[in-house]
Symmetry: C2
Subunit: 352 residues, 2 copies
């Protein structure tokens, strides 16, 4: 089967949330030993988890894993980031050595970590945490031509799907999406503008920290890319190939696979948010299986999450990527499942 | 020594944060493998933890405990809550049986739980989780006279201090404050209005869920109490005795004790926030050792936290109390310490 067809097949397997289980979870919340609604968003998250699993109470996701998808970006040549391309590979080395923020936070919340090389421009040494799935040595400059071919994009989606499927088969019950790639907020902004229709000045941010001049250039680059490609967003793989990145594609595959397995996918920041737009276009019901872990400082995150109808769990003014913000939301998600499963009812406690 | 003097002695032992350690933590953050500032509020929280412990990196608080302070309230006779007084005792039973939200969330984040009966109107059965420290069978109606005597208030502060000290001596390195007491958001609103100067309509909320008529009554009751007592807020024990509750007093003692031991105290919602105002008046530097775990839906929480200069970690539209919102912030606090201690520097990773 052609790889594009495999993506479509995967997307076709996503089923809607079990709305009956959502409703039963809400009803159960009304019987528990607390004033109705007093756990606020924890109640909504619990009901969503019930809808994913199709059972009340939902299983508690005790085996979370973060997948950090890494790639490089031809658009870096336009000067959209102050960091050199080599930092992507150096940070992958840092992930493997356990020294990055994502490692510390994954250990802190009890999550496994995997790194997916889906398009780092540098040759990388083998490492047990690193999955080699390089499609190409990074993308081309999206402001001058397509970032990659359709087939590259589809293959990168399937690489994300592959590692997500293996993790779930090995017992992982919650996925956190992470990204690493110098300049990768530029394709994220382009994708978010394409899918939401918002102008680049509302979707482009300062990434790792750029000055006013670089920011204006970055907005201009995104505008040029959108004018050049005139993306047809009813063709998500075409849009991804024109404007995206290999890690953006892989994360879309992780989201689709989580949805197919009915496992919650906690999104990190703006790159993951842009991937969720791709996944949504491939499979509208995939949104039901995603939880927006946090609100990135990047304005594109706000634009994408509003479009997706997702309210972020955390807002800690973070903008690091790697999966860090998504991981911090995992204990809240676990607690949301746990209260539904473990709290006594009013009747059991002899109250009311 | 008179009990009031013991409270003053405790407050006098609170020392300011180690600003040198705060500064060194911020400097360390600039050397770590991430763009400067990209971990947002996690960096601030880490620097605060360093300031509390006086060491960089700060110790990771791996042994958190929540103390749920329980008491009853004479003002319930005014009809400010739809729940009968007996629910306080029934919920204490639920905490001891492990069936409340605070139990499920404490287990989920790995925190110990203790319950302090500092003034429940019902006689309670002994239980290993329950500390009997009843000062009186609840308060009197604060809208008709003082809620309690000054000495009762001081003794309740010292009960909170006592259990906090014992927990810390037994290895607890982070305290979460929790409360249970039908009608206890009324004294919380009165205390917050007294200390912040905000009018009762800005500090009074709907508690466990009350209708418009009850809400208007509740605001009026708080207004009457403030008019009756004309509290002198330079006298925190007098203000606490006139307007507060026994659990509000105990939580103030927990905050002071955490501060004396230089252990972080994560505040839950509006009742804990009102107690933090009492603690601040007794010992202004105590605020440095508190972390606002979440923003309660109660408007008084916003008023108190603004006055204290604390930004909440979470905003999940919760309004349950018990310590539930504070507990959910614990993994974020742990992660904040962990990134400072475990991340590689740019130099170590050979970047930049």
């Amino acid at each position: 089967m052609a790889v594009e067809d495999r993506v479509r097949e995967l997307a076709g397997e996503v089923r809607p949330l079990d709305e009956n289980a959502v409703a039963r979870a809400r009803e159960r919340h009304l019987t528990l030993t607390k004033p109705p609604g007093s756990l606020g968003r924890l109640e909504e998250i619990g009901a969503r988890l019930a809808g994913m699993a199709g059972v009340v109470p939902p299983p508690v996701p005790w085996s979370p894993a973060v997948v950090v998808c890494a790639g490089d970006h031809g658009v870096l040549a336009r000067g959209v980031s102050p960091w050199p391309r080599e930092v992507t590979a150096a940070m992958v080395g840092n992930f493997c050595a356990g020294g990055a923020a994502v490692n510390a936070i994954a250990r802190s919340v009890g999550a496994r970590i995997s790194v997916l090389d889906v398009g780092v421009a540098t040759e990388l040494e083998r490492h047990p945490l690193l999955r080699a799935a390089k499609k190409r040595a990074g993308t081309d400059d999206l402001s001058r031509g397509p970032a990659m071919g359709r087939e590259d994009a589809a293959r990168a989606v399937m690489s994300g799907a592959g590692i997500a499927g293996e993790l779930i088969e090995s017992g992982v019950d919650l996925l956190v999406t992470g990204d690493m790639g110098i300049a990768n907020t530029t394709p994220a902004a382009a994708l978010i503008s394409a899918f939401t229709g918002r102008p680049p000045e509302q979707t482009t941010g300062r990434g790792t920290g750029i000055d006013d001049e670089t920011f204006e250039l970055k907005v201009r680059v995104v505008e040029e890319a959108l004018r050049l490609h005139e993306p047809d967003t009813t063709d998500p793989l075409g849009t991804l190939a024109a404007l995206g990145g290999l890690e953006h594609a892989a994360i879309a595959g992780i989201i689709l696979t989580g949805a197919v397995y009915e496992v919650p996918v906690v999104l990190d920041g703006v790159v993951s948010n842009s991937s969720a737009l791709v996944a949504r276009t491939l499979a509208p019901e995939s949104v039901g299986y995603t939880i927006a872990g946090h609100l990135s400082v990047e304005p594109g995150a706000t634009a994408a999450l509003e479009y997706l109808g997702l309210e972020p769990v955390l807002d800690l003014r973070m903008r690091l990527g790697e999966g860090t913000g998504g991981l911090l939301a995992v204990p809240v998600v676990q607690a949301a499942a746990r209260v539904l499963g473990e709290m006594a009812t009013m009747e059991e406690a002899g109250i009311g």
